[in-house]
Amino acid sequence: MLQRVARSTIVDAPLERVWAVLREFNSHDQWHDVVDTSRIERNERGDQVGCIRAFSLKDGNRIREQLLALDDRTFKSTYCILDATVPLQRYVATITLKRVTDSNRTFWHWESTFATPPGMERELCDMVATQVYEAGFENLRKHLRRGNDLRQGTAESPAMPTAMAVASRRVVLKSYGAPSVLRAENDEVAAPKAGEVRVRQRAIGVNFFDIYLRRGWMPDLLPLPGVLGMEAAGTVLDVGAGVHAVMPGDRVAYIGPTPGAYCSVRSVPADQVLRLPAAVEDDVAAALLLKGITADYLLRDLGRVTRGTRLLVHAAAGGLGLLVCSWAKSLGAEVIGTVSSPEKARVAREYGCDKVIVTTNYQFASEVQNMCGGADVLIDGLGDAARDENFAALARRGHWISVGQATGALKPVATSDLVAKSLTFSRPVVFDYIATRAELVTRAERLWTALSDGTVRKPPIERYALESAELAHERLEQRLTTGALVLTA
């Protein structure tokens, strides 16, 4: 006759936390005192249905058990004994967790049926009930109380899905204003929802756009309290339901479209996430993904820059500026840049800028006209202070592409301003050039290829700790930086 043993208890922890331990079939040697050592055979994962754990007990007995069913929806795990030095026959056990909704605790039911040799029924039922189940309840409580479950996930063990919140640092904006409004604080990031990927971020790109948001120019895009940041790179911690394109452990990067990257852990929609080639480091990806894709559509789609195009680039020694100079030079363009210091002029020249104008008061039009007879394409991140000079610097049929307004909001450009020289004015947003997954992937691949084959030279990257976001903003705003900036987490 089959014996049945059932034991149940209440654990003072949220269901997600208890399940994160119990769903891992090979976790019992970490929390159950009767288990000495355990391993999963054939190098399978501990949540692979069908996997086998081979373990020894402290009393010397040895057992092999197979995972028969695992259900993340009803929080149920079923397993059986394959071989054992204890005489439990046809042993099948089920662990079920249920939520205690009015106190955020967990109901845990552990049940099994098995046969025994004649006369051993009582002894074995007692053993299973007390030494395995009841002792297990106490041992897991102790494991959770000590926080041992939170210290998992070291480099050598493959990261398992942990359906629980993890600690994060984030830089929060509680009011708009000067760089000093940027303050780091502790945060918790919930498990990824369906379609999401939770990323342990290593590097976060800093863009001039972040400064506009910080100043409160676009409160609709960044309501308070808010977190800045449009791009980052790191490693996938875990994925939500229905995500198959990336796996835990993959190195990835992403761009927006909503701010929130200034943090160490973030969940983002899986369809925004790009797997990184091995050759592209996290900080390079975070520093250059948004700027590189911007350079790609500016030169290729919008500016149609080819051999002989006279291209004028403002802030030529910035992150975007150096990418544009270097890429445009490879395309055969005649590149003229403006910068704010002789040191930056030297860097811009190194990256392919043919002629550099050093100016701190945004006077450059007559020099541009003298050098090349006017610009066919102008890539402008300066905004209003350079408005009149921009018009004057453009050649007949020139194209002014406004991608930023570092000096202040650009006053509206009237069609009558354009008619004198048959000018074109564009005000693009990067997200319209990566609106489909295919476009995003194509542009990113073109960028990584261009960086690896030398078509584009990698700009210098200045690194700041996440805690020093304030300093990074100050320096970027005061035009003290060269190349791209990242925050490291």
Binding site: S8, I10, K98, R99, V100, T101, F137
Partner: protein, 146 residues
């Protein structure tokens, strides 16, 4: 389909709680929002298929049919035939499970139903917090006093 689920721990045996809630006509004795109850057609209150006809304390009329009763699983399932809540295809389950360590039991009360679009949150709140949690709290208070 909207689903509401509430669960709690009552500090007495499942047998004790079951003896208080098993009677399909006994809701006024243990649930604070129900004023009166009778079983239609003079049926026995543990006859599967019987209908309880109740009034809430604020005067609303509710008719519910017993669909399943299990003394083995400590479980009862019922549906709403008529109520002022504006729900359709409403089926609820009330279930107890013994907790083997200590004199206590795990109580679950859940329902599935359809409703007009936009009312999901309001009804989830009313049923989950008002009806189900209200009942759980009353049971916990009752058995704590003993």
């Amino acid at each position: 389909m909207v689903r509401v689920y509430v669960s709690s721990v009552v500090d007495t045996s499942a047998d004790n709680v079951w003896s208080r809630i098993r009677d399909f006509n006994a809701l006024p004795q243990w649930h604070p929002t129900i004023a009166d109850s009778r079983i239609e057609n003079s049926d026995a209150s543990d006859r599967v298929g019987c209908i309880r006809h109740m009034h809430t304390r604020d005067g609303g009329m509710i008719r519910e049919r017993l669909l399943a009763l299990s003394d083995y699983d400590y479980q009862c399932v019922y549906e709403i035939i008529e109520s002022p809540m504006g729900v359709a295809n409403y089926i609820a389950t009330l279930k107890l499970t013994p907790i083997t360590d200590g004199q206590r039991c795990f109580a679950e009360w859940s329902a599935e139903f359809d409703c007009a679009e936009g009312r999901e949150r309001e009804l989830t709140e009313l049923i989950g917090n008002g009806v189900f949690q209200g009942g759980m709290d009353a049971l916990k208070r009752h058995f704590a006093r003993r």
